[in-house]
Symmetry: none
Subunit: 251 residues, 2 copies
C-alpha cells in the first residue's frame, strides 16, 4: 500500500507552520509522501517542525520542486483541490468520489496525487489545468476559505477511511462480559418483585406498560454482568429498612 | 437548522490559536455555536483572532464555562471524542454514524453537542463519563494524535455533509422528550443520596468509581424525561419502609 499511497502536493505554500501541520495530519492518516512546489520561505523550514508534532519523517522525506510540472511528471493521475469553480472544462468531484477513483488506481500500481494551492489564493488556473479533474470540498457558501492543513486533513481522512474498512460502531465492554438475557430476566424479576411489594406497580391496568417501559430502559443500555450485579445491589440496598443505620462491615 | 445545529465544546484548551482555528473551520462548515470550558489562558484570548481568519462571530458568541457539567447542562445528547479506548462502558461510534444520530436528534429539536479535550492529553475519563457515547476518529495506529482544530474540522465536515444531504429519516417514535443533562444530574443526586443513606456507597475509596459506573449505565441509555421520572419514582418506592403495607389509594 505504502508505495502507491496518495501523494500530497503543496503548490507555493507560504507558512512553514502550515506545512508542518500538513505533515502531521498526513501521518495521522498514514500518508507519508509530501511534495512541495516552490515554498515561499525555502526548504527546509524550521517553522514547520513544531506544528509537525513529531511527523518528522514526512518533513524529512518531503521532495521539493520548482514547478508543478516537475512535481507531477511521474504521476499517473492528479486531481486539484479548489473551492472556486474555475472557468475550465474539468470534471468536479466530491472528496469521497474523487478518492474512490484514486484508490482504485493506486491499487492498480498507478501513482496518484492531489494538489493544494497556497494560503493566499489557492490554485491558479494554470495549475488546475495540469490536473485531470477538480475536487471541490463542500463548505458553507458564506465562509468557504479553508485553512491549507484543514483541506489536507479532510482529503487524508477520506483516503484513510476508504483505504481501511472501518466498522462504524463498536460496543465496548471494558473487561467485562455482556449480561445474558437470563441475567437480565432475573434482574427484572428481582426489581419487579420489590416494586410489587412497595406498591409502585399497584395499578393493575397500567402494570404491563410500566413493566415494559422500565425494562426498556435497561434493555437499551446493553448491560454487562457486573452492571447487573451492581443494579441488584442497589435494589437490595434501597429496599432496606431506612430506619436502620447502615450496616457496619464485620471486623 | 441553525438553532439546533451542533454545539462544539472544547474542554480545557490551551492555545488561543487552536481555538481560533476551531472557530474558522466551524464556520467553514456552517457551525456557529462554540462553548469553551476553562480555557487555560482565559477569555477573550487575542491569540485566537488571527487563526480565526474572519470567523469573529464564532469567537464573539463563544460561551465560557468553568466546568463541563455546566457546559452541557441544557443539552440532550453529548458525545465525546477520543482517540484512546478508555476503560468505560460506552458505545464507540465512527464520526459518520455518530453524526447521523445527532442530526436526527437535532431535527427533533434536541440540543446536541460534541466535546473535545485539550491539546496535551485530550479528554479525561471524568469528562468522557458525562457523555452518552464516544466518537473515535479513525487514525493511523502509529501516529494517532490529531491536532485539536483538525479533529473539530473532521467532525464539522461530517456534520455539513450529512446536514446538507438528503434529510435522514427520523426513527424516534413517541412524543417524549430526551432528558437534559440537568434532569440526569438531579436524578443521579437523588439516587446517590439514597445510596449514601443506605450504606451502598460506604467504601470511601471505591465511591468515585462506583458512582461513575452507575452513572454510566444511565448515561448510555439516553433516557427520556418520562423515564427519569419513572426511575425517581422507583427509588422513592424502594426506599420506603418495607415493613409497611403498600399504601392504598385514597378513595
Amino acid at each position: 500500500m505504502d508505495d502507491n499511497s496518495l501523494i500530497i502536493i503543496l503548490v507555493e505554500p507560504q507558512l512553514g507552520q502550515n506545512i508542518g501541520a500538513v505533515a502531521r495530519v498526513m501521518l495521522n492518516f498514514g500518508l507519508k509522501r509530501l511534495r512541495v512546489v516552490a515554498p515561499r520561505d525555502g526548504w527546509p523550514n524550521p517553522e514547520a517542525v513544531p506544528t509537525a508534532a513529531g511527523a518528522d519523517q514526512v518533513l524529512d522525506s518531503a521532495e521539493i520542486y520548482s514547478t508543478l510540472q516537475d512535481a507531477i511528471s511521474d504521476l499517473h493521475r492528479v486531481f486539484a483541490t479548489t473551492s472556486r469553480s474555475p472557468d475550465l472544462i474539468k470534471s468536479i468531484y466530491s472528496p469521497n468520489s474523487a478518492i474512490e477513483q484514486l484508490i482504485e488506481s493506486s491499487q492498480s500500481a498507478e501513482k496518484v496525487g492531489i494538489i493544494f494551492g497556497g494560503e493566499r489564493c489557492g490554485l491558479m488556473n494554470e495549475h488546475i489545468s495540469l490536473s485531470e479533474a477538480i475536487i471541490k470540498i463542500p463548505t458553507s457558501d458564506e465562509f468557504s476559505s479553508l485553512n491549507l492543513a484543514q483541506a489536507v486533513a479532510l482529503i487524508s481522512y477520506e483516503w484513510f477511511l476508504q483505504a481501511n474498512a472501518h466498522p462504524s460502531h463498536i460496543f465496548r465492554t471494558g473487561h467485562t462480559t455482556i449480561a445474558t438475557h437470563d441475567d437480565l430476566e432475573n434482574f427484572f424479576h428481582h426489581l419487579e418483585d420489590e416494586l410489587d411489594r412497595t406498591g409502585f406497580l399497584r395499578h393493575k391496568k397500567k402494570r404491563a406498560t410500566m413493566v415494559r417501559n422500565i425494562r426498556g430502559i435497561f434493555e437499551r443500555a446493553c448491560l454487562t454482568e457486573q452492571e447487573v450485579r451492581t443494579l441488584r445491589g442497589i435494589i437490595r440496598s434501597l429496599s432496606k429498612n431506612p430506619q436502620k443505620k447502615p450496616q457496619k462491615k464485620a471486623a
